[in-house]
């Protein structure tokens, strides 16, 4: 059972949300079916512990890693309890002619000379040293050393040294002693290898995903402008996960309103107790809320470093939510809803950045483009999101159009990738737009984006 509990620990480290109740279920199920058949065991644990399909892969990988180790340890266990004939023979050997084994004074030395299987001992030592807390690969040697110590390496080393340096003048080149020493050195090297292998395997089980989690946490907090190209891939999955989470939480919101058609059946039913006098009314109209979102993203030179991430989020949002219209602009406003629909994410982003990215900004032209393309479709259910830095190269900002947008829509959000105190510095005309935004916020990392969007959806 401890194996199962440890395995659940490993699953948790890898990011699977296993609750105590589920652990108990798993244990009960294992008690019913036993650990004998690997396939059954795998099925049982998957049924009780893995509740999301995305986690299936991690689960299978961990299961294979983990239970290979367990099986080995089990075999060793059996080997211990009923010593095999080889072992007996070896012991006999040691006891008879060659008394080198008898000479090995340290416990570990004796065990090694008698060629006992150390797997179980290693596993026990590892538990005692809390190997499962391993996080970084740099800790591997440290843990290997500690496990060796616990196995009794100190005494063994002392013995090896003692044999070399023993100042016994009468028979210094004792062939038996020499042989024993060589034997011990060799066995110790083998043991060290074995321990290192074990630590390596445990590191894979417990730390691989932990490391990734650290990285993800870091990415969520990191400033968008400072992210490396290398992080794009991971960032993409993070963004996607965030967008999906948001959509799952909010995409179906259903409200019963006290207006619309009277539901006669329900009303009569609700009032049957009052002899048919209609005290309570029941209404037919239930309204499914589906927030309508128009998102505009600046891709000009001044925001080029964060534009990719804003687009990434836009793409993911459109992917998971109905009724999102996406626009990009530098100087001309272009609708990219269709492009997003048709192209894979990488290609779409590449194409947008190539065709419209990095140009100089002209909010006036862009907004008048927006006026002609989309203003008519904005109504009181629409949320308009602008992702841009309001740096307009000293030109007129056509604030009047933004005012119209604000008046026609339910809400206007302005997300600025710059921090608040650099708004209005240089050619930024943020303060001109500010009166016509329901809220304007700096949006500098993924956490910000997630928080802001979650609010949009919650109150839509």
């Amino acid at each position: 059972m401890r194996f199962v509990a440890d395995f659940i620990g490993a699953l948790r480290e890898a990011g699977l949300p296993v609750s105590p109740a589920e652990s108990l279920d798993a244990l009960k199920a294992i008690q019913l079916l036993g650990l004998d058949s690997r396939e059954t065991c795998k099925n049982v644990l998957a049924l009780t512990l893995v509740k999301r399909q995305d986690d299936q892969e991690i689960y299978e990988e961990l299961f294979d890693l983990y239970f290979t180790g367990v099986e080995k340890a089990k075999e060793a266990d059996q080997g211990d309890s009923e010593p095999s004939e080889d072992l007996l023979a070896a012991q006999k050997d040691a006891g008879n002619g060659d008394d080198s084994a008898a000479n090995a004074s340290s416990a570990l030395g004796q065990a090694l000379i008698q060629k006992e299987d150390m797997s179980l001992a290693i596993a026990q030592a590892a538990v005692a040293e809390k190997l499962s807390t391993i996080v970084l690969f740099t800790q591997k040697n440290h843990f290997a050393y500690k496990i060796m110590q616990r196995l009794g390496d100190e005494a063994l080393s002392a013995e090896i040294h003692g044999v070399t340096n023993s100042p016994e003048p009468k028979n210094s080149p004792d062939p038996k002693q020499k042989k024993l020493q060589r034997e011990l050195i060799k066995s110790r090297a083998r043991l060290l290898d074995q321990v290192k292998d074990y630590v390596e395997q445990q590191h894979q089980i417990f730390a691989q995903h932990k490391g990734q989690k650290y990285r993800e946490d870091f990415l969520q907090q990191a400033k968008l402008s400072q992210l490396d190209r290398l992080d794009y891939k991971l960032m993409q999955t993070l963004v996607r996960r965030a967008a999906r989470k948001l959509a799952a939480q909010h995409s179906r919101r259903r409200l019963t309103r006290k207006r619309g058609q009277l539901d006669v059946r329900k009303t009569i039913a609700a009032n049957a107790a009052f002899d048919g006098a209609l005290f309570h009314t029941r209404w037919k109209a239930t309204r499914v809320e589906r927030p309508k979102v128009v998102a505009i993203c600046d891709v000009s030179g001044s925001v080029s470093r964060v534009a990719r991430f804003l687009l990434l989020f836009l793409y993911s949002l459109q992917d998971v939510m109905p009724k999102v219209r996406s626009f990009v602009f530098a100087s001309d406003m272009v609708e990219v809803t269709e492009l997003f629909k048709q192209q894979e994410i990488e290609l779409a982003l590449e194409e947008i950045m190539k065709r419209w990215g990095g140009l100089s900004t002209d909010y006036a032209k862009a907004l008048s483009g927006f006026q002609s393309q989309a203003l008519a479709s904005i109504d009181k259910k629409t949320t308009v999101i602008m992702l841009g830095d309001a740096r307009n190269n000293q030109g007129d900002g056509r604030v009047d159009i933004w005012e119209q947008v604000f008046r026609k829509s339910k809400r206007v959000l302005w997300l600025n990738p710059e921090q608040r105190n650099s708004w209005d510095s240089g050619d930024s005309i943020m303060s001109e737009y500010l009166p016509w935004c329901s809220s304007a916020e700096p949006c500098r990392n993924l956490k910000d984006i997630e928080r802001i969007f979650s609010r949009i959806l919650k109150y839509s």
Binding site: D25, R254, I268
Partner: protein
């Protein structure tokens, strides 16, 4: 649920072989899930692409255990009154009318309003008692004497509120009816929920269930399914069908053909007396496999290449 024949669920292997005899070929993980559901008395949440036999599994389980199958189809807007219970309003109304005259007898001799009310109270909430309760699927399942198999189909189509409402039922096999109190299951039913994953289900629901994912079957399993489901199908043709379907599932289709479509296709081919697959017949019957015009257009030019790769 009281299972009269314990030997029927003695081990996953027995379940697997008996189901096979009934015409449902299942993998080890499916059999294990059924076994655990019976022994741990936990609901199973079954996920997987449409047409892999999720609903069928519930039907076959009911048949195997000789229990009634109570099925509840979920949809947007499903609420308690359709899922759990409703009061028989008509009957309540009728009874109040009929009993109006009796009221005089009951209250005869009572002095003052207070005494009359007290007398009325003595009769309790007669209009909100079991007799006026119209049980809907969930309550039916709880009330069945010998247990039942309750199938909650396509739970992902229902609202989140309904999902939350199910939690009490799934963990404790009881429901609360405000006017009566808590109704406990007479005999714990076996509950199966199916989902097509159109929306992510809540963690609370998943935590209470065993989670079984049924993927598309591999070639060997599918071949066995075809053999049991479509009698008289030539073995060679069967292998060809399975191979083609496997290839189609690797293509980027809007909707990959599921097991049920494979079976339909095989039956159609059998009916048409097709001895060997050729591009003419595949083209003619493609609409049995693919349900989107886009998919058909995508696959049609590839048919010759697909058939060639089989040989």
């Amino acid at each position: 649920m009281i299972i009269k024949h314990q030997e029927k669920i003695a081990s996953p292997e027995i379940i697997q072989s008996r189901y096979e005899a009934l015409g449902y070929i299942c993998s080890n993980s499916v059999a294990t899930a059924i076994y655990l559901a019976c022994h741990l008395q936990k609901p199973i949440l079954i996920e997987g692409p449409p047409g892999v036999g999720k609903t069928e599994l519930a039907k076959i389980t009911a048949a195997y255990l000789n229990a009634p199958l109570i099925r509840m189809q979920c949809y947007e807007g499903l609420d308690e009154s359709k899922a759990l219970y409703e009061w028989k309003y008509g009957k309540q109304l009728l009874y109040t009318q009929v009993l109006k005259e009796q009221l005089g007898d009951v209250l005869r001799g009572a002095k003052g309003l207070d005494e009359s009310i007290t007398r009325l109270h003595e009769f309790g909430d007669i209009f909100y008692s079991q007799e006026f309760l119209e049980p809907r699927p969930l309550l039916q399942a709880l009330q069945s004497e010998d247990g039942a198999v309750l199938l909650i189909d396509e739970i992902d189509k229902a609202d989140q509120e309904f999902e939350a409402f199910l939690l009490e039922l799934l963990s404790d096999y009881q429901v609360s009816i405000p006017e009566i109190g808590t109704v406990k299951a007479v005999s714990t039913p076996i509950v199966m929920l199916t989902s097509n994953n159109t929306r992510e289900l809540g963690d609370a629901l998943k935590r209470r269930c065993l989670h079984l994912y049924i993927p598309f079957p591999d070639a060997a399993l599918e071949s066995r399914i075809l053999a049991t489901q479509v009698e008289g199908l030539d073995a060679q043709l069967r292998e060809q069908i399975v191979a083609i379907i496997g290839k189609l599932r690797d293509m980027p289709l809007k909707k990959s053909p599921a097991v049920s479509e494979t079976i339909d296709w095989a039956r159609a081919l059998l009916l048409l007396n097709v001895a060997e697959l050729d591009s003419h017949w595949v083209k003619e019957t493609l609409n049995l496999l693919l349900k989107f015009q886009d998919d058909i257009e995508l696959v049609e030019p590839e048919i010759a290449a697909l058939l060639k790769s089989l040989r």
